[in-house]
């Protein structure tokens, strides 16, 4: 058996990835804050958009992956999938909360309000509330299998709201602007330099998400292992008939 410090050590490739994120983050910030041209209407305020939109997209991806790993856990019942789901879920909550904070920052000087209850903002607030619920549900259930199953269902419900959220400005009248980049190929209404800056920021946000997710999953696996070892020890000391479910 490995000792604790050995087990907790971050592998070299993961450390290298983490270090590489620093210059990438600085490059993304440089593109957004300095290199990108001003917007014809918004001037320098456009620069907030790069942070807001990239974080929002990766938040959506994080919610989707949380639901995907949750679904895999429901299907195969492997503890590993539940560990990945939680790791992604924590980042989904963080990125969604940052989306709202960044959105409010961007919205006050451009749209003249911090908040309004339009469809897109309401759905995003609901997403954050449900992600908080995801962790409350997890904290309430002690049995790892039930915990994983119930929270996977919550994650899938949150993910079901993603298409509505993504297309909210197209489907409903909102204050939030519509998408400038249509994934169906019908066009991009953004200057090429702005598009490049946004995509670069999105890739970096994605790498940041993935790094924390992978590292959190690594810790989650150690956690699960320790939990299993503890259960095993208790099983050994408790006389037959003791109630320990793994």
């Amino acid at each position: 058996m490995m000792d604790a410090s050995e087990r907790l050590r971050r592998p070299a490739w993961l450390r290298a990835w983490g270090v590489a994120l620093v210059p990438l983050f600085l490059a993304a910030a440089y593109l957004g804050l300095v290199w990108s041209p001003q917007d014809v209407n918004q001037g320098n305020l456009i620069r907030i958009m790069y942070a807001h939109v990239s974080v929002a997209w990766i938040g959506f991806v994080a919610v989707g992956l949380t639901a995907l790993f949750g679904a895999l856990f429901l299907w195969r019942g492997k503890r590993r999938d539940d560990v990945l789901a939680v790791a992604s879920g924590e980042m989904a909550l963080l990125f969604s909360a940052l989306t709202i904070i960044g959105g409010m920052t961007y919205s006050r000087p451009t749209l003249n309000t911090f908040w309004t209850w339009d469809a897109k903002l309401t759905l995003t607030a609901l997403m954050v509330a449900l992600l908080v619920g995801y962790f409350i549900v997890r904290a309430l259930i002690d049995d790892p299998v039930r915990r994983g199953r119930v929270s996977a269902v919550v994650a899938i419900i949150v993910a079901a709201s993603l298409p509505f959220n993504y297309l909210a400005a197209e489907w409903f009248r909102t204050l939030h602007p519509s998408r400038a980049i249509a994934l169906d190929g019908s066009g991009v209404t953004m200057a090429p330099e702005m598009l490049f800056t946004l995509l670069f920021n999105t890739v970096v946000a994605g790498l940041v998400y993935a790094w924390f997710m992978v590292d959190r999953a690594r810790l989650g696996r150690i956690e699960a292992q320790l939990e299993a070892e503890r259960a095993e020890r208790e099983l050994g000391s408790v006389p037959s008939g003791g109630v320990v479910r793994v």
């Binding site: 451009t110 749209l111 339009d118 409350i136 904290a139 409903f172 602007p177 209404t189």
Partner: protein, 153 residues
């Protein structure tokens, strides 16, 4: 057996706290859903929609969405009186708003205004900007009105 009972007792306060938190979150979620159903699906109405059934919106606080009609803006910086015409291309209404215009407020800009009608004048107490999804570097100062109009559909 006694150990199990003791464990249960130890868990009880924690469970109550989590249960209360859960109820709180559900309450917030329910509130948000009801907000969404009440207001978000039709976040604002267009001037011509109001014109078709003004009695439906009588004495009610509504949001009106449209474009700021060109050459209709007047702002008095002494008493902060802002007046302009809001239009959807079919119908226009005069808007009276107290307060400095927001930074992105300009002719042909999309706006959503909150307030109520006083006869045929919309008295606004909240002026929001609905900008289009077009982002471009300044070239010749030209604004694509068709794009703005589409963003209001």
């Amino acid at each position: 057996m006694t150990r199990r009972v003791a464990m249960r007792r130890g868990l009880a306060p924690r469970r109550i706290v989590y249960a209360l938190l859960g109820i709180g979150v559900l309450g917030v979620a329910g509130f948000m859903i009801s907000q969404a159903l009440n207001t978000a699906l039709v976040y604002f109405i267009l001037p011509n929609e109001y014109a078709q059934a003004p009695s439906q919106y009588e004495n009610r606080r509504i949001r009106l969405g449209g474009l700021v009609a060109p050459e209709s803006v007047a702002f008095n910086d002494q008493d902060l009186q802002l007046t302009f015409l809001v239009t959807d291309g079919i119908q226009s209404y005069r808007v009276e708003h107290v307060g400095a215009p927001p930074e992105l407020f300009r002719e042909n800009a999309g706006v959503v205004i909150e307030g109520s009608f006083d006869a045929d004048v919309f008295v606004s107490d909240n002026l929001l900007i609905k900008h289009s999804e077009v982002y471009e570097a300044p070239k010749d100062g030209h604004i694509d009105i068709e794009e703005l109009r589409r963003s209001l559909q």
